[in-house]
């Protein structure tokens, strides 16, 4: 294939631009990693840009030495896996149903969904609902209330509607029912959007701390994010008289400060979820067209 000059220039500029952009994206995070390996007191002087100046593993030790870290990870991983898989499944099914004109009540359901985008009950009514459903202090408070969202449904629906109708028609003629069409045609063709929404859902679960803050008091049931926030609060030396006795430092120099722990917690939270996207990227390929559709 002959590549024109214009094409080459464009490619070159594109690469350059994206490289600069990548630097802008990664630099702050790089700095966070460097800070996480740097002694807190030393970091507070500022000036750490690329490499740690006073290397230490203490920031990470503070996090991982805790006995409750295993519980927290289990909760987070569990809810991310179960929550996102369940959610994607249910949302896509609902969206698939709504994408078919032959479904009665379609318009009503659409309207019902849209309204939920705008009006919600608020803190206390939601709390009372969860209480009556037994979701308080239960693992399922992380999953069940987050199963659906109106915008996810609409996004899926839009993608399903864009699928060529002939595929479904020919499958139906061959005797397939809706379930088969969904599973064998719609799903494979929509892999990229499944991967995308799955990622969104997973990230949402991974980053969430609000559910635990509001609805969970059993400390062995809190997710990673909440635990890290706790750790952060613990090292705040200027909480002053929070404990009745003033929080006092001795002369010994400490390596760990609230800020340095914050850096380490950021890394601990981001690293695992960041690896999910590259893993999912291979699903961002054109769906395989099966069936007997012949031009």
């Amino acid at each position: 294939m002959i590549i024109s000059r214009g094409e080459k220039i464009f490619q070159g500029l594109n690469y350059l631009f994206l490289t600069v952009l990548s630097f802008l994206f990664i630099y702050p995070f790089w700095r966070i990693v460097a800070l996480s390996f740097n002694e807190g007191y030393d970091s507070s002087r500022g000036g750490i840009h690329f490499w740690p100046r006073a290397f230490t593993l203490d920031n990470y030790k503070t996090i991982f030495v805790r006995s409750d870290i295993l519980d927290a990870y289990t909760i987070t991983i569990g809810r991310t896996l179960i929550g996102s898989i369940l959610s994607i499944l249910l949302v896509s099914l609902l969206a698939y149903g709504l994408s078919k004109n032959r479904l009665r009540g379609r318009k009503a359901i659409n309207m019902m969904l849209i309204i939920t985008m705008f009006f919600s009950g608020g803190l206390i009514p939601t709390y009372l609902l969860f209480k009556s459903l037994g979701l308080l202090n239960s693992f399922w408070v992380y999953v069940v209330p987050l199963l659906y969202s109106a915008s996810s449904v609409f996004i899926f629906r839009s993608f399903f509607r864009a699928l060529p109708a002939e595929l479904e028609e020919s499958a139906m003629i061959d005797g397939a029912n809706d379930l088969t069409v969904y599973a064998k045609i719609a799903f494979p063709l929509s892999l990229p959007i499944f991967a995308t929404m799955g990622l969104f859902s997973a990230v949402g679960h991974w980053n969430d701390y609000m559910m635990a803050t509001l609805y969970v008091t059993k400390q062995d049931l809190i997710p990673m994010q909440s635990l890290l926030m706790k750790i952060l609060d613990l090292t705040r030396s200027n909480k002053g008289a929070s404990f009745g006795m003033v929080d006092l430092v001795s002369e010994t120099r400490k390596t760990v400060t609230p800020q340095s722990i914050k850096m380490a917690t950021l890394v601990v939270v981001v690293m695992p979820i960041m690896c999910v996207y590259p893993f999912l990227q291979k699903y961002f390929v054109k769906g395989v067209i099966i069936g007997s559709l012949k031009g």
């Binding site: 494979p188 008091t217 929080d247 430092v249 120099r253 800020q259």
Partner: protein
């Protein structure tokens, strides 16, 4: 395609297994921790002194950020020696929201300890109104020790239920009590710089100006960056204003005139002074915009000459600086004052408890629960009890030193100094000192850095004993409506006044500010407060 289904089913299986695991561990938990009502319902059967079952107390801490790990030595000790099993849980969210949710749900744990303030206290009394918790008046009578750091009239105005006058909460934590309070905020100045320019710590604004000028002219750049003679954060700015306005409120002797710090007539002089500092290059340009980390970086790099702060961040900065050179440090500096004006108040001792304990009705009505709990709390209130709960069994972590004071053992001290509370959490010390009582006079070695100890004398003048009039008098609807708009306003005007080109302009802007306050509710709030004070005095 097959592979994909395989992968997905694998993931699903893992997910399901995880849930199963969790469900199992939850059940285990449930089996191991019978609810309080069932275990303590084994009330005394006969008069035989057979040992009662341990009193199980499920206690929720709202607004705390640390509870010890579940099985810790202290909890074990309490179980064996005091026959009480205290199970702590904590809530991670906003205190008011948490309490409101429990109020709406009609359900509170056995014992709750929450952070007290205007809002949370009023919610707590609603718990009382709703019959969720029990009044404690007779127990407070029976065990006066519980209120040894309290003040009866203060409690009545601040904590007692306005409707039936009963005390539904046991106020705790009296680091504010005149006997116990430590000075924790004040001015700081760079000691080595003072020595270098041959001056004393400033005591008046003029002296401060001269010291800062000397810094600017004589102190060289630090690490290649220019020095910052003076910088402040939000707390620092407001406290510095007290040099002119005395306190965040200024109530006249006859209780007829009231000014807030932002609309005090003298605030103009503050603006003019800061304007002068800025126009002479002595005030950090970023003092209104800097983030906490930026402020700390300036302190820790040793580039700041003068500031106002709590001891914590300064200890951190000193920790960094002294490591390089023992003389390179910030030391506490006396309050700045103006002749003819009242002494500024940077800290006030009063009877305010920081937290409060409430006991649920369900728990209290079950057998001897309430009685036994109060016995325990009474023991907590004694010196021996408080000492043990705060520091551990004598000899285990703390030993008496030569002067007869308790000191942490070296290995314990090393652990405590880590600053991440891991020692406290694994041993359980401090956590079960539910009343958070100190032992007075102190029998432990005074903790804290050298500078902190210096501060106790340097800042002594800026500490006053609260008149216990202003806060107990309470607030009203005008306050609710306007206060949120009033207190942040001054920073906006400061931004204009301090950076004005001339003194006249700064004065003009301040006068506009004072006029503006009249329009956004300051007079109404002031008038209401005076009225409330009047009513309070009449009682």
């Amino acid at each position: 395609m097959r592979k994909r289904w395989k992968a997905i089913s694998l993931v699903l299986v893992i997910g399901l297994m995880t849930t199963a695991l969790m469900a199992c561990s939850n059940n285990k938990e449930k089996a191991a921790s019978p609810s309080s009502s069932s275990s303590s319902s084994s009330a005394p059967e006969s008069s035989a002194p057979a040992k009662e079952d341990p009193l199980v107390v499920n206690m929720l801490l709202i607004g705390a950020t640390e509870i010890p790990q579940e099985n810790n030595p202290m909890r074990q000790w309490l179980l064996e020696n005091k026959n009480i099993d205290i199970r702590l849980t904590m809530s991670n969210g906003e205190v008011a929201d948490q309490m409101n949710m429990m109020l709406a749900g009609g359900d509170v744990p056995d014992v709750v300890r929450y952070v007290t303030n205007e809002v949370s206290n009023s919610i707590l009394n609603k718990w009382g109104d709703a019959g969720l918790i029990v009044p404690l008046d007779e127990w407070l009578e029976k065990y006066p020790n519980l209120l040894k750091f309290s003040d009866k009239s203060y409690n009545k105005s601040v904590y007692a239920n306005k409707k039936d006058g009963k005390m539904y909460v046991l106020p705790v934590n009296f680091a504010n009590h005149p006997d116990v309070i430590k000075k924790v905020v004040g001015f700081f100045v760079k000691e080595d710089w003072l020595k270098q320019v041959g001056m004393e710590a400033p005591t008046t604004p003029d002296e401060l100006f001269n010291v800062l000028m000397a810094f600017k002219e004589k102190i060289a750049d630090v690490d290649g960056k220019p020095i910052i003679p003076a910088t402040f954060d939000h707390l620092g700015r407001q406290s510095f204003m007290y040099t002119w306005t005395k306190n965040w409120y200024n109530l006249s002797e006859d209780h007829k005139e009231l000014y807030w710090w932002f609309n005090h007539p003298q605030i103009e002089e503050y603006m003019v002074f800061m304007n002068k500092l800025y126009n002479n290059g002595l005030l950090d340009r970023e003092f209104l915009t800097q983030q906490p980390d930026q402020y700390q970086a300036k302190l820790s790099s040793g580039r700041v000459g003068f500031t106002f702060n709590t001891h914590g961040p300064m200890d951190m900065a000193n920790g960094v600086l002294k490591a390089g050179d023992a003389n390179n440090r910030y030391v506490p500096s006396v309050p700045i004052r103006i002749e003819g004006l009242p002494m500024p108040i940077h800290g006030a001792a009063n009877y305010n408890g920081f937290e409060g304990i409430a006991i649920s009705k369900k728990f209290a009505e079950n057998g001897r629960n309430l009685e036994r709990l109060m016995e325990f709390l009474n023991w907590n209130a004694t010196d021996e009890g408080a000492l043990l709960l705060q520091n551990g069994v004598e000899g285990e972590y703390y030993v008496k030193n030569a002067e007869g004071l308790f000191e942490p053992k070296p290995e314990v001290k090393a652990e405590l100094d880590k600053g991440d509370k891991s020692f406290e959490m694994s041993t359980g010390i401090t956590a079960y000192n539910l009343l958070k009582f100190n032992v007075v006079p102190s029998v432990t070695v005074e903790p804290g850095t050298e500078e902190f100890k210096l501060a106790q004398s340097a800042w002594a003048e800026g500490l006053a004993v609260d008149d216990n009039l202003f806060n107990p008098a309470g607030t009203g609807p005008e306050w609710d409506k306007h206060w949120g708009n009033l207190w942040p306003e001054i920073d906006k005007w400061q931004a204009k006044a301090v950076f004005a080109k001339t003194e006249e302009e700064a004065r003009k802007i301040t006068k506009e500010m004072l006029e503006h306050f009249k329009k956004i509710g300051a007079p109404e709030v002031t008038e209401e407060k005076l009225r409330l004070i009047d009513e309070y005095l009449k009682k």
